[in-house]
């Protein structure tokens, strides 16, 4: 795997996994963008961070596809925030992405295992 630039891989991983991460995080409860970015950073131990410029367009795209739904929520003494929750369609996508990801990681492991044997 030496010939694949690690930077490219890194970016692809992030890009491909971003959807999965966002969908997972809004599975249990609605969350707003800032919340999501902080959660990703803290739960990955700082390995994964999302820039503003990619996170919000991603949310927009996911909403456009009908996988998440956003609503402006007003709270007393605060600015209104847009909270996203998982839709039924999003739940299906999340399930399938989880299993694809699992297969993929296993495949990588198998090869890595063979190569190192």
């Amino acid at each position: 795997m030496q010939h694949i630039a690690s930077r490219v891989l890194d970016r692809e991983l992030k890009k491909g996994s971003a959807e999965l991460l966002v969908l997972s995080l809004v599975e249990d409860q609605p969350r707003h963008g800032y919340d999501l970015s902080k959660l990703i950073e803290s739960r990955s131990g700082g390995v994964l961070t999302f820039r503003v410029a990619s996170l919000y367009p991603l949310l927009y795209r996911l909403e456009k596809r009908g996988w998440i739904q956003g609503r402006w929520i007003e709270k007393a003494g605060q600015r209104r925030r847009r909270y996203y929750r998982l839709t039924a369609a999003g739940a299906q996508v999340l399930a399938s992405q989880r299993s694809t990801w699992k297969e993929f990681v296993e495949a990588i492991n198998r090869i890595a295992g063979v190569e190192h044997a």
Binding site: K15, G16, Y34, R51, P57, R82, I108, I111
Partner: protein, 869 residues
């Protein structure tokens, strides 16, 4: 998307505010906090460009990938530059010559008319026949008459020779061009007694009158006579030739046309078809008229008809076959380039399978990846196209600068916006062509399977596709090379032709004496005799001759010829023998190195007072006097009293017999029999219409040096007479062989490029194969295969591809070289020797290209190869 920018900016603003508050809460200063946020702000600033997101990203990603593989990229771009450059250059020429519109109105309705016999012999139009055509035809809106001429323009510092034309008013109407100043000719100016008026070209108007409107009404001196300028034609008026600078009204010349229907005084017709009338219908109409005239005038018009040719076809008829062949050749080169690059991309895509598989696994759609790979291919193709356009610009400039005389509209050939649009389209199409197959294939494979296989190597499908591409490349290259080989053989046959004269060290130039200045024949002859004598006296000149015709140049006049005692024609339609008659000075034959078969040359004593004599070519002697000695026999080609039973021949005694001289062309010279008479015994046809004489000087001197001396000599006799048309005989031969030489050079170059690219293709595929099969080879060696076995395996694989390509290519060449027929001389389009030689050449090159990877395979160390797994 009306909502999203506002919504997004609100969310993002909140996010940044939250982040700011959070950082400040952790005790960071305002400045430090802003520094932390700077990265986000920068990215946001560039978000606008990111909206065309995928395309721009693909582009950047592609550029980076290409930069990372610089060697690969350079090879691909150079290959592309070659292919696209050649295509662009050929398109530039095809566009300039065939496609670009003409300045004339309704070009597709403009036709030219000539008289021909039903056997295809071409003649100019008899004046009386033309008048009948005009009265009787129903096909044409306008029917005009013209004749090219050479004029001496005097009044400036130096006398100049310019190209002119007499033209009836309908010529301008047929072409549909309006004067940019003044007017065209009126119908009154077609009639005898027309005033001495002239229309000049825009070029002459600008060079001699500074483009001033006041030029209208001024006079110019042509052939020593004053003409009043009545009009200026725009630069788009290139009729009859692109160098025509002045038009004179038909009416001034009508009285000089022979009153006899059998005479064809160099006139030609141009017409505009009525709307909706086809060329075929016009031809049928004219044929019916010709038949009526034939019935009324069987002596002069037996078997005559009229050839109606679209003017556009006539302009390009000589170069169209060559251009079509070149366009095909260059398309082949481009196809080979595409096949080769597709091959390279396929090999590289294999190397990137894992990267692509991972991207696919991470959610990139198949279309996204295809898009990405295509972007890469198109980006390289555009780079190659830009280089190619430069290459084409340079090649076309060099081509135009070499002033090929046989390419019409050469001055309009240039790489311009139109051509660049073509290049851009070709570049993008090329990128898609060589990028699409690899991209589709790279994404059509099962990704998990591919991940498993990635370590082991290639897929059957990929290998088959690559093999097919190589076979295709070899087949195309072979077709091209066979075409090139045929043009080489054809050129060799041309070069070996017997011209009938020795072109080396002969310089020619022309002098044209206006009738008005030299009305008496004796003075006219004396002038030329003087010139010959004084030029002969120039130190370093070996021999000097003058002749009324120039070999290979194709001008001159023909007339019926008979021998004394010839039985009268059995029927009116029996074809008379015609001869090309020429008036020459005694030393013409020596100056040109024309060989005598029998008899003698002219001498100073063969003057007007002596008995009329002639020198004939051997074919005429054989035809008229088979088995007999022609010397002392009499022939006649001049007749007094018109073309009818009462015509009285002027008999001339044959004093010499010479070899045939190629006159009209090097190849496909029409049957013509040559007769020479002494200048002093000028043929009666020349009495009213004097020819422009050509001076032939055999000398080791360089032309510029010689021409200066000759100008001084001519000027000392008459300062009003220009010397022009300086060209060596070798130059005439060069012009005559220009097209075959160009065909050979260009097809040869394309063939060579094709062969090199195809060779690289074979080599590349086999090298790749050896690399991928290292392990298999190692096992074979470990199991006891010899190095020879391995070499045979690899070379055998290469040669299998080569032979498949050669077989397909030979079939293709057999089918397609028929199209070259019109370009070939002295060699069949199916010449077995050429086919065999090219097949052998391609096989040999393929062998060499296979042998190198084969050798490398034999050096595989079985232990290392096995461990590689």
């Amino acid at each position: 998307m009306p909502e999203w920018p506002r919504r997004l900016s609100e969310e993002i603003r909140q996010h940044l505010d939250d982040e700011y508050d959070a950082l400040r809460a952790r005790g960071l200063s305002h400045d430090e906090t802003m520094r932390r946020l700077a990265g986000d702000l920068d990215e946001l600033a560039s978000m606008r460009t990111r909206r065309i997101e995928s395309a721009a990203l693909d582009l950047r990603y592609a550029a980076r990938t290409l930069r990372k593989n610089l060697g690969f990229t350079v090879v691909v771009m150079l290959t592309l530059a070659l292919g696209i450059g050649a295509t662009t250059a050929v398109f530039t020429v095809v566009d300039g010559v065939l496609l670009r519109p003409y300045a004339y109105r309704d070009m597709n309705r403009i036709v030219t008319l000539m008289e021909t016999t039903r056997r295809g012999q071409i003649m100019s139009v008899a004046w009386q026949n033309f008048q009948d055509w005009r009265a009787q035809n129903e096909a044409f809106e306008h029917l005009g008459l013209y004749r090219g001429m050479v004029l001496n323009l005097t009044g400036g510092e130096q006398p100049e020779r310019i190209i002119g034309s007499l033209a009836s008013s309908d010529v301008f109407k047929a072409l549909g061009l309006d004067a940019i100043a003044g007017r065209a000719f009126t119908p009154q100016e077609d009639d005898p007694g027309a005033p001495r008026v002239a229309i000049v070209s825009e070029r002459l108007w600008r060079s001699h009158f500074g483009g001033e409107p006041s030029a209208i009404g001024r006079t110019i001196a042509l052939n020593d006579e004053p003409y009043t300028i009545v009009g200026v034609m725009p630069a788009g008026m290139r009729f009859p030739s692109r160098t025509t600078d002045v038009w004179l009204p038909l009416g001034l010349f009508v009285r000089t046309f022979p009153p006899d229907r059998g005479a064809h005084p160099g006139l030609f017709a141009v017409a505009k078809l009525k709307p909706g009338t086809s060329v075929e219908r016009a031809s049928a109409d004219m044929d019916a008229i010709a038949r009526r005239i034939e019935q009324q005038h069987p002596m002069s018009n037996a078997d005559h008809t009229v050839a109606v040719t679209p003017y556009a076809d006539q302009i390009v008829q000589n170069v169209r076959p060559a251009l079509v062949a070149l366009a095909c050749a260059v398309a082949f080169v481009l196809l080979i380039v595409c096949a080769n690059l597709a091959n390279l991309m396929l090999a590289r895509a294999d190397g990137r399978l894992r990267e692509l598989a991972i991207r696919q696994a991470l959610g990139a759609s198949r279309w996204r990846i295809v898009q990405q790979l295509l972007t890469e291919a198109v980006l390289v193709a555009i780079g190659g196209g830009a280089l190619g356009a430069l290459l084409a610009w340079w090649a076309v400039a060099a081509f135009v600068a070499s002033r090929p005389a046989t390419i019409p509209r050469i001055d309009q050939i240039a790489v311009d916006g139109r051509v660049l649009v073509f290049t851009a389209i070709v570049s993008i199409a090329t990128g898609v062509a060589f990028g699409l197959a690899p991209a589709l294939r790279a994404t059509s494979i099962d990704l998990l399977a591919s991940l498993r296989d990635a370590a082991r190597g290639s897929h059957g499908g990929g290998r088959r596709l690559r093999a097919m591409l190589v076979v295709g490349e070899i087949a195309l290259a072979l077709v091209l090379l066979v075409g090139a080989g045929l043009t080489v053989r054809s050129f060799a046959a041309l070069a070996a032709l017997d011209l009938g004269f020795d072109p080396s060290r002969v310089v020619t130039m022309r002098v044209s004496l206006p009738n008005a200045r030299y009305p008496e024949v004796a003075r006219w002859v004396a002038f030329h005799r003087d010139v010959a004598a004084r030029v002969a006296a120039i130190p370093g000149v070996d021999a000097v001759g003058l002749n009324s015709a120039t070999p290979l140049e194709g001008g001159g006049s023909e007339s019926e010829v008979r021998y004394e005692g010839q039985p009268p024609p059995r029927s009116a339609s029996e074809e008379a023998t015609t001869c090309l008659f020429q008036a020459a000075t005694p030393d013409y034959f020596r100056a040109m190195g024309i060989g005598f078969v029998r008899g003698r040359a002219f001498t100073e004593r063969d003057d007007a007072a002596a008995a009329p004599i002639a020198i004939v070519e051997e074919a005429l002697a054989r035809k008229f006097f088979p088995g007999a000695d022609p010397i002392g026999k009499r022939i006649a080609f001049e007749f007094t009293g018109g073309h009818n039973a009462a015509a009285r021949p002027v008999w001339r005694e044959i004093v010499g017999v010479v070899r045939h001289v190629r006159h009209y062309a090097l190849v496909r010279e029409p049957d013509n029999l040559e007769v020479y008479v002494p200048l002093e015994q000028l043929p009666i046809w020349f009495l009213d219409r004097r020819p422009t004489m050509t001076l032939f000087v055999r000398t080791p001197l360089e032309p510029p040096q010689l021409v200066a001396s000759i100008r001084r000599v001519v000027s000392s006799i008459d300062p009003q007479i220009p010397v022009f048309g300086v060209l060596t005989m070798a130059g005439y031969v060069g012009q005559a062989t220009e097209q075959p030489r160009l065909n050979m050079a260009l097809l040869g170059a394309f063939g060579a490029v094709a062969l090199v690219i195809a060779t690289v293709g074979i080599y590349g595929v086999l090298s790749y194969l050896v690399g991928r099969r290292t392990q298999e080879i190692g096992i074979r060696l470990a199991l006891g295969a010899t190095r020879g076995d391995v070499l045979r395996l690899i070379v055998g694989h290469g040669m299998a591809l080569a032979f498949a390509g050669i077989a397909i290519g030979l079939g293709g060449a057999w089918a397609i070289t028929r199209l070259l027929g019109a370009l070939l001389y002295g060699v069949s389009p199916h010449d077995p020797a050429t086919f065999a030689a090219i097949a052998a050449l391609v096989a040999a090159v393929a062998f060499a290209a296979s042998y190198l990877p084969g050798r490398r395979a034999t050096r595989v160390d079985p232990i290392i190869a096995l461990r590689a797994e």
